[in-house]
Subunit: 683 residues, 2 copies
């Protein structure tokens, strides 16, 4: 829909409909024969409440953006690094901790393996980012795992990747925000009991920020992301200086660890592999840039690839550096999650003063905002899926600020639910995280292998080889990761992802069915219909709403009748008398309903009418006119039109039946808007 | 609406419309010219889901009853005693306990006053029942406090009484069910932690039983009510025999009482008055019979009055008897509410065996079922108020079983909420109870004083005097009761009742406003309108739903045009080309919407159309045809018609605009129902 821009076309000579269609209003530009272009004024709500709501939206979400302004939303490399990399870089704030959390299960001496595990993950990171650089170049229109798999591996695999990504977007938000709150509670332990509430509040604030649109998000993000990078690099630099100078505090001590229930495990290869699997959460978010290539300033692929490299370098340095420092200081994770590992390291280096507090604040900010990768990615992916018919169409509705309101709302909802269920504990949330990421990594790389094999452009063998290594490695990590985390809750992912795929397939089948049911051959000329229709007006007495409905009914059809359903035949007779006096040319039918039902007898009466029509073969269109009293307040929905609402629900499913809503608006009575033949005006 | 029955009228000679209107179907009896009477078949749902739901309803709620069957729902005196008196009589199961709960605040010796207080309340009971006997005779159509006050004291006072009664109906349900569960947990203390859940379950079951209708409630109720009366009278009889024979267990001991926090209070007049106020809860439910006079078998007033006397005698005897016995055995309430007072008394008399358990079961049953007074009374009162316009009209909708579904549902909801908030504790709920009752007692009696003064029938002075005594006494109890219970939560009543009155006044003003706005002079003849209309069909392409909508639009108006709103002008041009080929005689307009909004630009285009029409003075009716795709499943509401729904909401408030819903039902494609001129059939 957002496709090519239309060149502004002026008035064309010889256009026959100019005079009729040309609007004398501020709403439109006239752009062609039978063609209007809406100005912003056309979107301004007409009612007082509507205008007030629009004002609230403008303050909270910002003014609407036209499609033409979208190009202005493009990101420079420095901003893009902040927007798309905050997730990946911020994962350095908890990944080292997750490695140690596994290793200490074998006692304090096992932490000696933490640096080796971190280095192995860093190697994986190098391979993955290098593979992904190629994706940026090959899919400049945005090469998420879904797009790559769709193009190379077929729809089922693509949906698997999409489902895995959607799940992990939710986890990105939940884990990042939980970790951000943990960074705060490391400084202010008094807030610990409220961490779930705080995390949910942060999620909601972030969702609102995202409804404001992409560019402003970039502004918000640039500052804390770079502050975190600077703070973390300084932390590592200062720490390493102390290591090199032989500071007495640095002595690579063997930390004392309380044994878990059932005692320590043996230090096995399996445990080290598990530590690797938990630590590989550091790679989460790496792929975000490939999804967002079109948001870069031109030349998009090149800028995206270079941003990808910068991100990989920063993330790798911080992650490995923090692992080395915690090993050097002999720091292990707090089993009660009262203080984070990075906070312990930073207190060692920066002391307990203002610098420590500032770095924790910055860590909180980058983590809470890192969740933004989820808010950037999930609605975009959902929109692509909706356009392809795999998600309900609502997800394709573009909100005012070029953001995808539905996707943002649902993402925030699920994330809040997970935060609440796991009480914002990072250690509890992590096992559900990153499995899906590695699944989509592997699918994406495998798709690229196929891509190079089909394309065979210059140097394809080398590129294919690189992506093949990436595919095999990430697939291996996926299997190991899923297998080793199943007891910790990873089965949720293994259940949820296929269900999500099934739902998407099902939604697609629904829309396909609708398309088929509605298909019209593109060449058939539709002739003018020659059918007649019958008009039925259910009435509850004689009042302005009824009179107006009957009058509208009379203008659209000749065979009209009013029907009064009642359990009180006396009332029926009384009304008939008055009706015959006031509306003598409209036949009046009383349907007595001893069971006091309204809808059933009325529909049965329509069936009877259909039946009497049967001598003629062609079924008539039955127009049921519903008078509706339009109030001005939300409570009017409770006070009025209950019966009409129940009747409509039944009539919508009835053959040959159309429903004509005739709203009677309270304002119209007595003003110039009163129709001249309105009997009430004569009263 | 339920007023007089209509004599069955057969076919009338000389009726011109017989042949046309006579139904050849099982749905109707033909009962006159332009007059049909629905048979039960007319209420049978047409869809599979509808039929299944009707079957579920039939099992859970029973088959529908015609108005004509209502007379069969009348109650004999024995059944009416059970239905209308279970609340009043069952209050003997907790009223004595409430007296003692106050007196023991002054220590064990203070319980000597309990019998005196109980006797004072019994005197009040005699006066109130005697006054109410007169109401039965004076208001045979049902003399609730609202009706009496409305007739004699004006609307504001009547609404005050109604609000107080509605509040107390909720309390009746909550307190009775909580007390019933307490009777059970006295035998099975293991259930104590689940008392709130059990109470809510019981409330829901009771609501379902009430949706089944009045007569069956009568059957359910007769048995436990009479079993309780027999059991309680036997208990008192056996207990008194032991008192008279000087049983060594009976020695009027001074019970030992743990002092409350802050030590015992002094035994003051104030304390005794408070004990009286708390114990006067015994009178709750006394008025129920006067609300239900029309439900009695004829002669209604006489039967109702005599039932009233029987009820008063039984209640008074049991209440005073239990107070005497607990004094004789030296029994005081358990502060932890683990065992009820009546259970302690009954264990003393019946021992710990099967008879004790049986009496507790019966007590539970009468108490849980006593809540039925609320379920009988509140929806009836709500219906009267709805018919008078003080409550939303939904409350006047008669459910299938002559019950008032809305009232029952909301009553059950509020009661469950109170039970949950107060954790089903009778001691905590009681202070909110009975204040409203005495307010409505006083209003009702005051109304009767006025009634006799106006009527001056034979013996009016005597009757006026009696009601005057009742009015003064109950007003005094109301004041004392409210004042003494405010610290215990009675302020809730004092806040809630005026709010409820305000809401009722407000609802009435709303409906009054609607009536005035819709008023049509009863003699004005409505002429045939000569207005034209303009038909606009918003389209999203060319498909069967759109073609059907355009075709229906063409049959009802000549000035028709299709409008396509898009942010992609290329798509607009492509569609225009196809449109001009397939529907050449329907003008096609493209509205480009750079802000990607749909509703705003469409409505702005309608405004432009209105504007171009302005040379002619008379505003045309704008018919907006909305194609609607009708699915077969609940999820179709999520998948389809989102945009149409948003558009409808805006159009309903637009001047001169009516909305024509043209549902496209999926089933109709390809079958005989396909219109012959449907182009899809040619595809």
């Amino acid at each position: 829909m957002i496709g090519g821009r239309r060149p502004l076309s002026g008035r064309k000579v010889g256009d026959r409909r100019v005079r009729i269609e040309r609007p004398h209003s501020a709403y439109f530009r006239y752009t062609g024969p039978g063609q209007l272009t809406a100005r912003r004024a056309a979107n301004v709500p007409k009612t007082g409440i509507g205008r007030a709501w629009a004002r609230v939206k403008a303050v909270a979400i910002g003014r609407p953006l036209a499609s033409e302004e979208e190009i202005g939303e493009r990101l420079s490399k420095t901003k893009a690094l902040a927007v798309f990399s905050s997730d990946a870089i911020s994962s350095s704030a908890y990944a080292s901790e997750e490695i140690l959390r596994i290793l200490v299960l074998a006692g304090g001496a096992a932490v000696v393996w933490s640096v080796e595990v971190a280095l192995a993950i860093a190697v994986l990171l190098v391979i993955v980012t290098t593979s992904y650089r190629q994706v940026c170049h090959a899919y400049p229109s945005g090469g998420g795992a879904y797009a790559v798999a769709r193009a190379n591996l077929g729809v089922p695999v693509a949906l698997l990747a999409a489902a895995a990504l959607l799940f992990d977007y939710v986890m990105t938000v939940a884990v990042s925000i939980a970790a951000g709150i943990a960074a705060t509670t490391s400084v202010v332990p008094e807030l610990l009991p409220y961490r779930a509430e705080l995390a949910i509040l942060a999620t909601i604030l972030l969702a609102v920020a995202n409804l404001r649109g992409l560019r402003e998000s970039g502004n918000i993000f640039a500052i804390p992301t770079y502050l975190y990078v600077v703070g973390a690099l300084a932390l590592i630099g200062l720490g390493l200086v102390r290591v090199v100078t032989g500071d007495p505090a640095v002595m690579f001590p063997t930390p004392t660890v309380t044994p878990p229930e059932g005692g320590f495990e043996a230090l096995s290869v399996l445990l080290i592999v598990r530590a690797f699997a938990f630590g590989s959460v550091a790679l989460s978010g790496t792929e975000a840039i490939t999804n967002g290539v079109p948001a870069f300033k031109p030349p998009e692929p090149r800028n995206a690839a270079n941003t990808m490299t910068a991100m990989g370098l920063l993330l790798g340095t911080i992650f490995v550096g923090l692992s080395v420092l915690s090993f050097a200081f002999g720091i292990v994770p707090d089993p009660a999650e009262k203080v984070t590992l990075i906070a312990q390291v930073s207190r060692q280096v920066y002391g307990d003063g203002i610098v420590f507090v500032f770095f924790q604040v910055v860590t909180t900010l980058i983590l809470v905002l890192a969740a933004n990768t989820g808010f950037n990615g999930a609605p975009r992916l959902a929109r692509i899926l909706a356009v392809d018919g795999y998600m309900p169409r609502q997800f394709a509705i573009v909100g005012d600020r070029l953001a995808y309101s539905w996707g943002i709302g649902i993402l925030a909802g699920f994330s809040c639910a997970l935060i609440w269920l796991f009480d914002a504990s990072v250690a509890a949330l992590i096992p559900l995280y990153s499995i899906g990421i590695f699944l989509s990594f592997a699918i994406s790389q495998a798709g690229m292998v196929r891509h190079w094999y089909e394309e065979r452009s210059r140097g394809w063998r080398w590129k294919l080889g690189l992506n093949l290594v990436g595919a095999v490695l990430t697939a291996a990590v996926f299997v190991v990761s899923a297998a080793s985390k199943i007891p910790n809750g990873a089965w949720v992912v293994i259940v949820a992802v296929p269900i999500l795929v099934g739902l998407m397939v099902w939604v697609r089948a629904q829309y396909r069915g609708q398309e088929a049911a509605l298909f019209v051959a593109p060449d058939a000329v539709v002739p003018r219909p020659h059918r007649s229709q019958r008009v039925v007006v259910p009435v509850n007495g004689i009042n302005r709403a009824v009179v107006q409905a009957v009058n509208v009914g009379r203008t659209i059809g000749s065979d009209i009748r009013a029907v009064y359903v009642t359990d009180d035949p006396d009332a029926g007779e009384k009304l008939r008398e008055r009706w015959n006096r006031q509306l003598p040319d409209v036949p009046f039918v009383v349907v007595e309903s001893p069971y006091r039902a309204f809808v059933g007898p009325l529909v049965a009466y329509l069936d009877v009418l259909d039946h009497t029509w049967s001598p003629e073969k062609e079924a008539p269109t039955m127009v049921v006119v519903l008078p509706e009293y339009v109030g001005r307040h939300w409570w009017d929905r409770i006070l009025y039109n209950q019966t009409a609402r129940r009747l409509r629900a039944v009539l919508v499913g009835r053959e040959h039946t159309v429903i004509l809503d005739v709203p009677y608006r309270r304002e119209q009575g007595g003003s110039a808007a009163t129709p001249p033949d309105d009997p009430a005006a004569a009263a």
